[in-house]
Chain length 414, copies 2
């Protein structure tokens, strides 16, 4: 008998029929003798509907009141799923975030979980009930409703698993696991049986949109066994996210390839090469609420250097204006350049720590395809390159093949 | 400076535009220096939408979980109205029933309010905020969400007014007050400036669907000054419901005429006239969950009597079967008769206490129109007659004129 936390996203609970399907799976685990806590999102489209309603009242909705509104989406789902379980003869009880006392800080619309009181859930589980909890939401110590930000239901799932010391946290979604890369780009992409937390973090932040990154960090911190599964098929075990590294012998060099087109590149050329220059450039950017991803500064020559960074593509024009109007004059730089037709491709794998030559093999593969590399950034378990966006699919496919990630058989339909 | 509780129903908050209109009125009271607590219903149609969703899961939805779902309707509205107020520069804060601790019993979907903790509201009011509270809902002492039944938002409004000792509880609705009778039937119907609680109770239970009857009882019990107003126009003061009787001099004999077609009539003829016979007839009816309205038993002749009562028309067949199959044999009655093509017309007025001849004037008026009276029932401030349903409009119009209720001018558009 295990204690399992299952989380179902918006598409898995999109309508009454799908909610009944979820109840069917939960009932199966329950009948096998497991204790089950289920975390659910709002029915897909519901959160957007509520945000739209709020914006019709106030262009920038008051965060406290927005949380009051949008938290209702998950509240409807918990009622429906509990009913569906009860209708199947499975005793079940629903709780809002506030009722199960998921205590958060007061940062409305992006609150952080501080503490969970698991006593009420534990009592229900011990009396044979399935516990159904609204994801995405919590309460401040004053009883105000908070939400955890988009994708926060994953975080709720992992946090409950940590608080209850669950044997496993299962995240049900519309894909059946984490793949070596996006199967829509590389048909030979393989589902990974396991992936390490560090790799998952790099994959998630790089655009493999399977799990919310904060939930992965949370799982790593509290050593929660996290598994990604499909809520639409039951024929495999998904991908288990582990926090132990496998022995070097079994370790593939590269676990996966992440990529995205969401970024834009900006460069400041001929910047005086003096201490504090990076701060002088990036402080105004940060103050303008622009998040910076890659940052590259090469060694200076003749007292001046070139400085480049990437931002989200939506922030491109704003950042370009900031560089031209403020930062160029203040730093005495010679020239500003920008490009929003780029992509980023990254190799991820804990195995590259112990294998030399991964970078040079990557660069050779791209060169053989005639692809010019514009920027390079490396970490312990990741190498990222910025390319012209038109080469993205070509680069991903070539690298997937070069690093032996192609499967013998085509992957299961996601 | 007064403390006012305002309650707005579903049609008054049906969409963002109307919610902004409500905010406009609330802001006006606030700017005049009043302390305002606003109670809102769900946007019209929302509660029905949620009930329909629940029924797609479970034909008879689990009451606890149904309350979790349907309470979200009001929760969305409080967020929206608070935003609309804040957008106008009026400080405002929303509360669910649970947050403001409207403590109820555990009767899900029809809970009764036990207690309200007004401290949090009081602190907000004293700091200049408008307090926006979700109607229709509360919490059990264990923190479970409850709802008060259809129309429960009126009850929330009155209960908050009682707890806060408010100067007035204003119920905004789609009519601008209580009329002498339904203006759709009698175009000359007049809006009443005041009506007594007792009259209002009789009017409400007889089908003048302006206020939920439970809220009127509540207001009477706690001496809350209750006013019904239109949320769509501001050109009159609606109808004030008072608990002091006016002096006899100003007292009109009849305040209004209520009527409905919702009932059916059943008679048991030739019942042995012995002690306990009424109980023997009505106990099985009550056990079958059928509510009885009028009950009439005439004096017995030759050891037998006739017994008649009315029930809701939906319960007609069920009750008829019960009389034929169970009650007739058990009481030894001679015959069962039923009729579901009836209507009930009632004169209501505290003034009739001190005026003889109201009943005879009523019967004379009906007789002059050629209308046969099937049943008569009287109380201190009400005379009800049961008629063939086809005479309903004719009877109401004739009585409205006979008792001088017609206004010189047509009533304001509701």
């Amino acid at each position: 008998m295990a204690l399992i936390v299952q989380k179902y996203g918006g598409t898995s609970v999109a309508n009454p029929e799908r909610i009944k399907k979820v109840a069917e799976r939960v009932a199966r685990f329950h009948s096998e003798g497991h204790q089950v806590v289920v975390v659910v999102s709002a029915m897909s489209g519901e959160t957007d509907r509520l945000i739209k309603l709020a914006r019709e009242i106030q262009a920038q909705p008051e965060p406290r009141e927005l949380d009051v509104m949008i938290s209702t989406g998950e509240q409807v789902t918990i009622g429906m799923l509990s009913m569906a379980l009860i209708a199947r003869g499975v005793p079940a009880k629903s709780y809002t975030g506030g009722q199960v006392r998921i205590l958060t800080d007061e940062s409305h619309t992006k609150a952080r979980i501080l503490e969970i009181d698991e006593k009420r859930m534990r009592a229900d589980l011990d009396s044979g009930k399935v516990v159904v909890v609204a994801g995405f939401q919590g309460t401040t110590e004053h009883g105000d409703i908070t939400t955890l930000g988009r994708g926060g239901s994953d975080t709720t799932g992992v946090a409950l698993a940590a608080a209850l010391k669950a044997d496993e946290c299962q995240i049900y979604t519309d894909v059946d696991g984490v793949y070596t890369t996006d199967p829509r780009v590389v048909p030979e992409a393989r589902r990974l049986e396991t992936i390490t937390f560090e790799e998952m973090l790099e994959m998630a932040s790089l655009g493999s949109k399977v799990l919310q990154i904060r939930s992965v960090e949370f799982a790593g911190k509290y050593k929660v066994k996290l598994r990604v599964l499909s809520s639409f098929e039951d024929n495999n075990n998904g991908t288990l996210i582990t926090f132990e590294e496998k022995s070097k012998m079994e370790q593939p060099i590269i676990s996966g390839i992440a990529f995205n087109r969401d970024e834009a590149k900006l460069s400041l050329l001929g910047v005086p090469d003096r201490p504090g220059i990076a701060y002088a450039i990036l402080e105004p950017v940060g103050s303008a609420q622009v998040d910076v991803d890659m940052i590259i500064q090469n060694i200076g020559v003749d007292g001046s250097t070139d400085f480049s960074f990437t931002v989200h593509r939506n922030d491109y024009q704003k950042t370009l204006d900031l560089l031209n109007n403020t930062i160029k004059p203040s730093t005495g730089a010679r020239e500003v350049r920008g490009d929003n037709k780029i992509c980023k491709v990254s190799l991820v794998g804990v195995g590259m720590r112990s294998h030399a030559g991964v970078a040079s093999k990557m660069f050779k593969t791209l060169s053989e395809e005639g692809i010019n590399i514009q920027m390079i950034s490396t970490s312990e378990i990741k190498i990222s390159v910025v390319l012209d966006e038109k080469y993205m699919e070509l680069a991903v496919r070539a690298l997937h093949k070069a690093f032996n990630l192609d499967s013998a058989m085509p992957p299961a339909k996601g």
